[in-house]
């Protein structure tokens, strides 16, 4: 599902990722473990086409990243959902609007959108906030909205960048259970974190350790 070989990336002349190679099969759950600044976010960004693949090879959900252009990138992104480290929720829109957005851009019918959004919001305990605007939510609540938006489309691959960073311990652990349950339905999950406790919560998961841009 994710196949990366000899991938390197630099911002200007600052080499951020060095010769990264790994493979994740369908339905696998993997942690990308590493300290802040080790290149986790950069790698996830390359994997959903937000940064160009300049050196090495990578295939995600059947798409060769080298062949991604602005005209076919949306096809990759319909297979790959992302939970962003900085959430990227639309502050002036309601929770419902934010979570419904990926379904809306796919042209999903209204009644199906309503059903799916309701189910996902319930699983993340956001059912009371459906019509609340996101700017009125706490950081943890916004993070859960970001997760809801990522999983509502039932993606083939889920990339999550420190999705529990703003949650207290209990909520963070509960969130890991949501990912785990979701993974059981066949979604490949790659989750960046620097918190070993989260890793311990998913004992069946693989761990890719990243340090200074290298998988070790």
């Amino acid at each position: 599902m994710i196949d990366v070989t000899h991938l390197s990336f630099s911002f200007g002349n600052h080499l951020v990722l060095q010769d990264v190679s790994f493979t994740l099969g369908q339905g696998e759950f993997a942690f990308l473990m590493g300290p802040s600044g080790s290149g986790k976010t950069t790698l996830l960004r390359i994997l959903h086409g937000a940064l160009p693949l300049t050196r090495g090879k990578a295939t995600v959900a059947g798409f060769e990243l080298r062949k991604i252009t602005s005209w076919n990138r949306h096809l990759l992104r319909r297979m790959v959902s992302v939970v962003f480290q900085d959430f990227k929720v639309l502050p002036h829109r309601t929770v419902f609007d934010n979570v419904a957005l990926p379904l809306f851009v796919r042209g999903t019918a209204k009644d199906i959108i309503h059903k799916r959004v309701a189910v996902v919001l319930r699983s993340l305990h956001l059912e009371d906030k459906v019509q609340v605007r996101c700017e009125e939510l706490s950081g943890g609540e916004q993070q859960r909205v970001a997760v809801a938006r990522a999983i509502v489309v039932k993606p083939k691959v889920l990339l999550a960048d420190e999705p529990t960073g703003n949650l207290d311990r209990t909520l963070a652990l509960r969130m890991m259970d949501v990912f785990r349950q979701f993974n059981r339905f066949g979604t490949t999950v790659l989750l960046a974190t620097h918190n070993p406790e989260m890793v311990a919560r998913v004992p069946e998961a693989r761990v890719l350790n990243i340090q200074e841009g290298r998988i070790v």
Binding site: H74, R77, R78, K88, L90, L101, P102, G107
Partner: protein, 285 residues
């Protein structure tokens, strides 16, 4: 279904940011108004000069002793000459009555015998080599037996001829500059919209929106703003036109509004360049 949704979304989106909408429409309106005003002035000057050129007048005097029958014969033959639109004839009696009218002369002076037969010949001058045509016409009239003098104003013809070559040379560059201005204003308008919506567009792209999904509302929004601005500007110009019409009433200078084809070209250009502008600004996503 999806397309209808995107189009209506594009229209709704621009009203969500009223300030940006107002500034965009205002600047577009100013440019379109200026542009269409120039077109309007050019168009009317062109028309009026063409019209006056078409009515160049020859004044023809017969010798006072020319026999009545010859003159009447001339009057009917001049009317058939090529280019002649109409003929106004004056017998010495007509001329006398005219004089009387003009100067409110009551008593019956016997000027009849001293006044010649005269006529005003209204003729349309061909665009090609008007001077030569005028001269030929002059010579032809003068050659008629019994004709003493023929007058016309060659300056007026020169003026008309030089305006023709000027307006032909000026029209294309002026129109190009103005349409480019309209295009630039539309392009800037789209960029403003893009800047305002940047974050939202980026997110749409991240959650899998297709390029068309993101572009259609923008293009529709830009086109809507262009249409709004065009309508306001054209209405303003129409107001100016009505005002000028009443101001110049009774003079020879007749204003007529821009023909529909000009207006459609104007609005079409605004829309076309809005679309082009939004496409070009969009390459960053």
């Amino acid at each position: 279904m999806m397309l209808v949704r995107l189009v209506s979304q594009g229209v709704r989106d621009i009203f969500r940011t009223p300030l940006s909408l107002a500034t965009t429409v205002l600047s577009l309106t100013v440019v379109i108004f200026l542009g269409s005003s120039f077109l309007f002035v050019l168009y009317n000057l062109d028309r009026n000069i063409k019209a006056s050129q078409g009515e160049v007048v020859f004044q023809i005097y017969w010798k006072p002793d020319a026999p009545k029958e010859t003159v009447f014969q001339h009057w009917s033959s001049i009317g058939e000459m090529p280019g002649v639109i109409s003929l106004e004839t004056f017998t010495p009696l007509d001329a006398l009555n005219k004089l009387k009218d003009r100067f409110s002369i009551e008593d019956n002076l016997s000027l009849e015998t001293t006044l010649p037969y005269t006529a005003l010949i209204y003729a349309r001058v061909p665009e090609a080599d008007p001077r030569a045509w005028m001269q030929a016409m002059h010579d032809r009239l003068l050659a008629l037996p019994g004709v003493e003098q023929v007058h016309y104003d060659p300056l007026r013809v020169d003026g008309a001829a030089s305006w023709f070559s000027w307006s032909k040379r000026l029209f294309i560059p002026v129109a190009t500059v103005l349409l480019t201005l309209i295009a630039l204003a539309s392009g800037v308008a789209v960029r403003v919209t893009l800047a305002v919506k940047r974050e939202e567009l980026e997110l749409l792209s991240l959650v899998g929106a297709s390029p068309f999904f993101m572009r259609i509302p923008l293009v529709v929004g830009a086109a809507t703003q262009g249409i709004l601005a065009s309508l306001i500007a054209i209405s303003m110009l129409y107001g100016v036109h009505r005002y000028l019409q009443t101001m110049f009433q009774g003079t020879l200078f007749a204003f007529s509004f821009l023909p529909q084809s000009y207006i459609f070209i104007c609005i079409g250009t605004v829309i076309l360049f809005s679309i082009l502008g939004s496409y070009i600004s969009f390459r960053q996503f």
